[in-house]
Symmetry: C2
Subunit: 359 residues, 2 copies
């Protein structure tokens, strides 16, 4: 097991990474205020890991209730959130009951927002079971739900007390989910670490084959990057925004298609290809950089173009993005592979060409 820390003063917390951690409730115990938890998970994850986690907790004298949600981004909404509140009230969960998110990004975002707002905040633990959640969404305290007009439009910054990443869980991931997680892995490299991009270019097939050593390294490296960025800028006033590379396009794709059609990571992959293209059209990177990025995304079995949403509709959706200010879009663009900047003034001609997929 390896342990990193997200250094956030009195809200600092550990990230434990390793094989089989799910069965070790002793790692969870020190973070509980009472021997009682509510586990939020979904119908896909529950049969795989819920009995194991509950049994491990029970063996340590911790009682649990479970709240099983439907699986998919299309359920990351107010209706599902309310079903969590109802279950917490009915289960007599109080201010000291810890909420555990067991699952991927959607489960973590929903459960985290419920924890942030039930009784004005209860203790929260992340047990991510997908690659995307282990390398990205479970760390840093972003929680929330979607609005029909905008991804993650309603939410809160709310840090967990612990992130427990059991890399054994990645073996059960369907290939499509694994690829979607690789999109965020590649993103960490593109915005912060060219050497990691080079490592990914060497190891992407190993990752797709669920090679345990390669996955463990990728998870650890992403957690290191993310933990450092979050510690520096918890509320996204600066450097943290760079981790949204590809997300302005990606969020527009997700809401344009209807949540749940493409996985979040798939939309981010296409969004990164588009953001790289825009960076090239504006002269920040060269075509060879774009080709290198697209080649890596393709090897990771990810889309590299948006799925045919009309450019006008894309623009409309992007204008509703959280990163827009006074109607002006902000883009994260590459300065080179391994470094990015946030830019507000972008030529609408170049943007238009990206949206229509001009050569």
């Amino acid at each position: 097991m390896q342990t990193l820390r997200v250094e956030l003063g009195e809200r600092a917390y550990p990230i434990h990474i390793g094989e089989g951690l799910l069965a070790d409730a002793g790692l969870i115990l020190p973070h509980l205020d009472q021997p009682r938890v509510a586990i939020v998970t979904n119908t896909t994850v529950a049969p795989l890991y819920l009995p194991q986690l509950r049994e491990a907790l029970r063996a340590q004298g911790v009682e649990s209730i479970s709240i099983v949600l439907a699986d998919g981004e299309q359920y990351k909404d107010g209706v599902t959130l309310n079903s969590i509140y109802d279950a917490l009230v009915e289960g007599r969960c109080d201010r000291k009951t810890t909420l555990i998110a067991l699952g991927g990004g959607v489960v973590g975002d929903l459960a985290g927002f419920a924890a942030a707002t039930y009784m004005r905040g209860i203790p929260f633990i992340q047990v991510p079971t997908t690659l995307l959640a282990q390398v990205d969404s479970s760390i840093g305290g972003k929680t929330g739900i979607n609005h029909p007009l905008g991804k993650n439009m309603i939410g809160a910054f709310y840090q967990p007390r612990l992130v427990l990443a059991d890399t054994a869980a990645l073996k059960s991931l369907p290939p499509r989910e694994l690829s979607a997680g690789l999109a965020e892995v590649i993103k960490h490299g593109l915005v912060r670490d060219e050497a990691f991009v080079a490592w990914l270019e060497q190891n992407v097939e190993k990752l797709l084959d669920c090679n345990a050593q390669a996955l463990a390294y990728a998870v650890r490296r992403c957690c290191e990057i993310k933990a450092a960025v979050v510690a520096e800028d918890e509320r996204e006033a600066g450097v943290r925004a760079l981790l949204n590379f590809g997300h302005t396009f990606g969020h527009a794709i997700e809401s344009g298609l209807g949540y749940g059609k493409w996985l979040h990571g798939e939309a981010v992959a296409a969004g990164m290809a588009m953001a790289a293209d825009l960076s090239r059209r504006l002269g920040y990177v060269v075509q060879a950089d774009v080709d290198r990025i697209i080649a890596l995304l393709k090897r990771a079995k990810l889309p590299t173009a948006q799925p045919g949403i009309a450019p006008g509709r894309m623009l409309e959706l992007m204008a509703a993005d959280k990163k827009a200010e006074a109607g002006k879009l902000h883009f994260i663009l590459l300065d080179q592979i391994g470094a990015a900047s946030i830019r507000a003034e972008v030529s609408s001609g170049a943007l238009q060409q990206v949206l229509i997929g001009a050569p």
Copy 2:
């Protein structure tokens, strides 16, 4: 104009109190990030103060959209909250748009929670127009909505950047609202300041007559008490809980009757009479103290007994209260007039007698 400060480090903010402050948008201007605000108010307050506030802002070059809610505690729910989100999205409000709550406690709680959670938090200003909101609910950052099974069950701690209390607005209050506000005024005295209770005993009729000087003094004294308590214990880990005196009973009355039947202050008044009675039955205060409290509440035209909800139902509702832990109720009880403590172990016999209103 008088100005107090809530000392909360980087989240510190001023409370301005005075006549006619609503027309002085210059007080708001320094707290805005962009010349654009969304004003949340209700159908009762809008005709009285919304045009005045918008005009004052417009004169300073600040554009505003307005979101007008139905009036009443029964609307402090997820449906109304969603209508605020929808209006913010449709109005293209972004992370730098300030949300202004113009109204009483319900408007402030709803708008504050919307501000806390829209795009993971946008700037927020309280412009309380009722006595209850000016002396209590607008200060300290408690925001939230009700759940059918529990008052304020969903919410967040989210501090405003400014509280602007225009005491001229109190002249338009219906007598019932004024009395309801007096319940929280009296509460501040009972838990923290016997001299203020004595002052209230001298001045309660003046307050009911909307005597400007008396109201201004009462608002200022309550704000002083509240600001000091919040600065000491923002998240209610200790002393702040004392300000919930009467609220465990009061919340049970509100949800037992159905939200909106009694005003919050009315339920708190009956709850304080019950909590005083419980304090006496457990030997912390004497009958003369209880009589003194009940006499003051009656002079303020407030109820002093619960409205006939079955004791078993009251207990059930109280068990769902946020202050319960592992099924155990916590009560705020008086040690004397002007001082209170939080107590977990309460004889169920004494509680039963309070609930049935035994002599």
